[in-house]
Each structure stands twice: as C-alpha cells, then as structure tokens.
Symmetry: C2
Subunit: 489 residues, 2 copies
Amino acid sequence: MAEQLTKRADDYAKWYNDLVLKADLAEHSEVRGCMVIKPHGYAIWEKMQSALDGMFKATGHVNAYFPIFIPKSYFAKEASHVEGFAKECAVVTHYRLKSDPVHGVVVDPEAKLEEELIVRPTSETIIWNTYKGWIKSYRDLPLLINQWANVVRWEMRTRLFLRTTEFLWQEGHTAHATRQEAIEETERMLEVYRVFAEEWLAIPVIKGLKTESERFAGAVDTYCIEALMQDGKALQAGTSHFLGQNFAKAFDVLYTNKENKQEHVWATSWGVTTRLIGALIMTHSDDHGLVLPPKLAPVQVAVIPISKNAEQLEALRAYVAPMIASLMSKGITVKFDDDDSKKPGWKFAEYEFKGYPVRIAIGPRDMENGTVEVARRDTLEKQVMQVTDIAEKVEHLLGHIQDNLYQKALAMRENNTRAVNSYAEFKEEIEKGGFLLAHWDGTPETEAKVKVETKATIRCIPLGSAPETGTCMVSGNPSKQRVIFARAY
Amino acid sequence: MAEQLTKRADDYAKWYNDLVLKADLAEHSEVRGCMVIKPHGYAIWEKMQSALDGMFKATGHVNAYFPIFIPKSYFAKEASHVEGFAKECAVVTHYRLKSDPVHGVVVDPEAKLEEELIVRPTSETIIWNTYKGWIKSYRDLPLLINQWANVVRWEMRTRLFLRTTEFLWQEGHTAHATRQEAIEETERMLEVYRVFAEEWLAIPVIKGLKTESERFAGAVDTYCIEALMQDGKALQAGTSHFLGQNFAKAFDVLYTNKENKQEHVWATSWGVTTRLIGALIMTHSDDHGLVLPPKLAPVQVAVIPISKNAEQLEALRAYVAPMIASLMSKGITVKFDDDDSKKPGWKFAEYEFKGYPVRIAIGPRDMENGTVEVARRDTLEKQVMQVTDIAEKVEHLLGHIQDNLYQKALAMRENNTRAVNSYAEFKEEIEKGGFLLAHWDGTPETEAKVKVETKATIRCIPLGSAPETGTCMVSGNPSKQRVIFARAY
C-alpha cells in the first residue's frame, strides 16, 4: 500500500488525496462535492464526537436538534448573514416527484413550495427563531445548547474532509443575559477547542481573533484556533463567535431582566467539523501512510500471531489471551487478527498504513522466551519486550506516542513561525510556507492587497501575545501588534 | 404542570401532544412538518442511540456516512422503490440565492441544477451505488454498515415524533454473498430490535412479517416489531428488510464467488427512528406526566434537599454527599437540585412530570433519623428508607421499575389481544382497540376491504406462532394461520 502512496515531497496535495482514499477514510460520491465517509474515517469522527461531547457536557451544555430546512425569509433577517451564505445554498423548491410517460420520473410542477426552503448552511436563524419562544425572563438564561448535524454549503472546489458541500459538525448556540457572559462563553468554548486540538488531536494551535474580512457572517467577533500543516499551510481548526445582539435583534428575542426591563439577548455560536479529520491527517501522517494519535485511533493496538500451522496458532491464542484481556481491562482497544487467510506481512503493511498506533507481533520463539515484539507507528521503531506487565508498558507507550506526536507537530510549527519586518521579506518568506508574524495597519485594504499579491491571509490576531508596536509592513502606518499571516486551506 | 395535562381518558391524542410539549420533549417548528427536538427529548434519543449502537457493534457492524442528496435518476433505477417514495420527496433544484432590488432575497434562476437532487427519504439507492465500487469478490463480503442520519419524507399530516417530515434514525445496509446469509442478517437485526424494545424501552413487541401491501418499497420481505399503545392502537416500532438482489440488480453490484463466477449481491436494510420516543411515551406515561424506563431516562435519580435556611441546606449537602457519590459510582445518573430559588413542591412536580424514575427527598428530620424519602415515578409510591446501603437499594429499585414497566405493558397488551372468528365480531371488537387475531385468505383485496371498512390493517403475520388452519373471516377461503389486525399509528 505504502508503495503506491505519492510521497509528500513529490506532491503534497496528491499524497493527501491518495492517503484518504487508500486508507479507506473517505471517497467522493457521485453527488457533486459530497463525500462518503467510510467506516475507518467515520470511526475517527466518532472518537472525536465522544471526546468533544463530553467536554461540552462538562461545561454545562446539552444537545438538541433543529430542522434541516430554513425558510428563505429567515436568512434575509440578518443582513450580513444572508450576504455571507446566499451564494452557497442548496434550495428546496418542490416536495414531490411524479412519473412522466416521456421523461420518466420528473419533478411534479404542482408540488411547488410557496416559500423555498434552504438546506441549513448553519443554524443561527432557525435556532434564534426558536429561542424566541423559549426565552422570556432572565431565569431562562443562559441557554447552553449544542447540535450535532450535517450542513450544506455549495462549494465549487472541494477536497475530501477539508472542503465539501455537505459536512458533519457540531454547532453550539448559546443565549446570555449580558454581553460579558456571552464573551466569556465565546472564550470558554475557544479554550475547549484548544484543549481538544492539543490534547486529543495532538495538534498545537494558536488562539486568536479573525479580522473583519474573515469574520463569520453575522458575528461581532470571530475567535479561532489556527494550526499549521506539514506543507506549511495554515488550517482553521475551529471557530467561536461572539454574535452580540445581532440575531436577537433580527429575530426579536427579548428577555425581562431582574429590574423587570426588556433587553435583547446576547449570543454565541461555535463549531468544529469533519475538516478536523483532514487536519489530523495533514499534521501527523507520513509517506508510510496514516499516523493517528492514540486517543483518537479507532483501534489502538493490533495483535498479530505468526504461526506456521493450526497447532501453533492455537498455542499463540492461549499465550496472548491474558495479555489481551489485560490490555482491554485498561480501556485499551485491541484488534486480535488471527485470520489465517492473510499473511503476517500483509497485516503489518495494512495496520501500518491505516495508522494503528501500536502493533504487537508474537511468534513461537516469543512464546519460548516470554516476549512479544512491539512496533510503534509514529517512529516505526520495533522493540522486543518481556510479556510481564505488558499492558502497563503498552499503556505507557500509547501515552508516549500521543505526547511525541504533539511535540513533533509543535517543533514543526515553531520551526516554521517567524517574524518578518518588511513586505519584501514577507514576499520571499511566504513562498517557504509557515506562519509569518508581521505588523499590519488594521485596514481591510492592506489585508486585501496582501492576499491578492501573495495569496496569504491574516489567519488571526493572536490572543495574549505581548503588545509590540511597530509599523505596517505594507503601508508603513502604525501597528499595535504583530498578526499571523499564512497561506491557508 | 400535571393539572394542565389533558387526561388520557378525555382525549388521548391531546394528552399525547400536551405531554410532548409540556414535558419539553419537542415542539413544532415553523417549517412545515419539521420538529425541534428539545434537550429533554434529545437526551432520551442519545440514550437510545448509545444502547443501539453498542448492540450493532456487538453484532459486527460499523458506522459510516453517505450523502444527504440523491440524484433523481438513482430513484428511478428500482421501480417499486421510486413508486413508494416519489410522492413524498423534498427536491433541491437550485444552489444559490441572490439579492433582488424588488423582491429581496430570491432564488438565482441561473443556479439551476442540471439534475435535481432528492433529500434522502432512505439511502438504499446512494448506498448501493457506492457499494458497487467496494464489492468485487466474496472476500469483500459481508459488508455490515450502519448510518445515523436525518431523513426527509414529505408528510401531509404530522404528529410530534410519530410522523414528521424530517426525522432522525439509523439505517443499516448490509451486503451478503448468499440469500441465506442475508435472511439470517434480516432476522438477526429484527431480534436486536426486539431485545432493545423489550429490555430498554420496556415495550413488549411481536415479531412478524408484513403483508405485501405494507412492505418496504423495494424489499422482498419486510420484518417488523409491532407494539400496542395504551389507547389500543398499534405502532410499528422497527423494520428489517430482506431486499433480495433487487438493489444489486438495479445498481449492477456483482461479486466474484469462490468458484470464480459473477453473482449479484444479496442485501438487507433495517431501521428505527425518533418515532420510538413517541412509542415510549404512549406506552408508559400517565395523567401525571412522563414515565421513563430507568435505562433510558436522561437522569435516573433526582435528589432534593428540603431546608428552611442556608445553614440547614449546608448540613443537608454534607449529609447527602456520600450517598450521591455512592450512587454515581454504580453508574446511576443523579441530579442534586439544591437551587434554593425554587421550592421543593415545585421541584417534586417538575421531576414527576418529566419522568425522573426515582426522587429522593431529604429534610432535617431525615438527618436526625438517618433516613431519606424515596418516591418512585411508576407507581407514585413513597417510602422512608434507612440511608445505610441506599445506593444498593436504589439500584435494585431502578431495576424493579424497569421490570415493572415492562410487565405492566405486557399485561396491557395481553388483555387487549384476542382471537376473533367472524367479520361481524371483528367489526365490533375493533372499536375497542387492541390486537385482533383473525384468519385471512392472504389476498391484498381482502386486506384492502378490511382497511376501507374498519380502518384496521394487518400489522403482521406473526413469526413462530403455531400453525392453525382456518377460514378467512371475510371471504371464507382457506387460511394457514391467524394474522394480527389493528388500527395503527
């Protein structure tokens, strides 16, 4: 398998696409821009969902479900929102097909909807239209709701996981009594995303604010986490929006405060998508195939017996049974592959290519010696280990792999993050990829000029960085802090 | 709350609708036929998903995700399938909106799709079109895949959970080398549904086969589980379809068998939906509100301190802390409600109405006596218990409640299942509701006549019942076994 994989150095984009297809993660469907997420890819998404869902619940959120269809008129209620999403909407206009003697199955012209329905590209409008009925008083606040759902944004150029017409995501939508509470929620969920990215995906991220031109359509402020891929391009890994009172005003959502006065409600929304699977692949995988952080690997350990005959296989089964039980009792997921229609070499290649973090091989000699051979996917190192306390050793190794992947990705990012002080230097450096820290005058004009001339965008205005005044590399006007530029996915 | 609830005896349909709304389970959205599933309702669905997903995985299935859109032409490939679903399809015809100076936001006529897309009402067609690329040889079989998704069937008359235009479900789609294997899979998943219905939902069900007129569009055989609601109407709670080679032929899915010959693949599909939440409500709930089986209750135990002042409340907190820790260590979900802005009476009413299986109240006198007051929702009985070993007692009680709900529902069904031997008797008995066991000549004509004249349909031809020859109650023609008639949701 790995032999058929394009090398990253040869063609990174092709390597990515090859890998997604050959590792059975996803494929293009015949429906334009929509992907099929195959079982191995979906299993990673399920792990992500489970971890995130636990973090959302631990921060007081509950799940709910809102309709997939949004009446066209809802969109028009928030001006910048419709502006941002109108160009990429799937529109339902009819509700029936019929048989036609000449053309076969056709749309029944008599079943035309009075008002067209939009397949949700995001749910602020329908949710705020619903919240209107739920929020009367300060006692109803805060409302902390998340939804796991599919959404559709009509994309002209698509890439598996990274940009697809339909994708899966979660979208949190919260309502608060005060501006301050809403901002705190926006920042709290950004921090949840940072922790998830760093501790689960093993991807270091930078927290920051989007500039006006990159802001979510309808938001007052868009916060984001930005990651750097192995090819030096940036990827936005999650966003958390402070929506101010924009949607409350558009949908007339008022509450009675403790002083018995009516006020508009304050809002946030925040989401991450199946795009994170793309981020995971592009951060850790290599020319040998997929590399997965143990915390998100569908199966963490593959155990492969190496036998010459049925009798040996039976003996090996008995030999490994207590080890497997012991691994499982620690919550480690194990696949014991004793399918003797496939050769060990084939299995080694398969599990390596599909990113199983640890592979344990056991042959007759291991039985004699009380050993097993343990291979780790991240470094491809093999080691013979005594079987005594093997579950503890593997548990430790999995933790070590998780940490190693993060450290490696962090080093990569640090090696590719640099300050530049002139536009000439910027133009030269941007060709090498990476995050460039540069002074910017804060205007959309300068941002647009840089984008047109270099294809780089401002990924974010980083949070918590030390203030450093300077002059904009393009206009020479004053700047209060460096921002992060990069070419991005 | 309960005071405002319509009594079942007065108007069962209104009781149901009231309850769904007032217990905060779901509500109608402004989008025709689509519901909003509120957090309390969605939490029940999450419990169902978790249990079912575990059962699917334990039987060797994996999850995947297929596109929400299906090209119109796919539908036409399986003749009876398009016939069955064409009348209720949401059709996407355009992919863009635009601003119009006169009419505001309008559909952009230039963004018309060449081929219309159908929002999936079920996914056989797109999945079999995909399987075509996945299945080459007998080594690729069986393919055991499930999908959790939303689907849309344009319904003219909707009821919350029971019949909605958009609903949530799981759909299993499996591919097999032989007819026999596919039939075994169909029956295996029907049995999974039976176990889930009886052991989790606490709803007794009858396994059976649908008649031709009630069969899934495209199936060779539709198996089902049928339940009886408190009002004497039947509810189909899950279906498992043996699809034969119909979809493999429609989408040209062939595999090479061990003899190196090409054969069409055999298929099954099976699903349950958010309708099960409706079944749950209509089976167990009462005039006091929601009743939930402990295994599916979002929270199993509400703990309510009763205090006169802050000092007492602090003492009660300390008193119940070990009890709560002990309950949670047993995997029992607990809500400790020490919100002193609400009165205990309000909380009692709230938790009773929302179906918390067990409520524990503790006052200052309990502290002195080393007791707590335990109330069970199913019987509304209260009991003072010594706090010693309280977690074991509550665990036992939850098991007992689960069992009691099942036994009660079973007794209700048995009391309302009866054999009838003439059409005159049938017409009289059907007015009383319940399952009627009657002889039927096996023709769609007789079935249609009974439906028109009595509104009753054949719910199923029960599996495993003792053969009993007789004569059809309508036509007098020979019959091989009794079938189950009922009026149904």
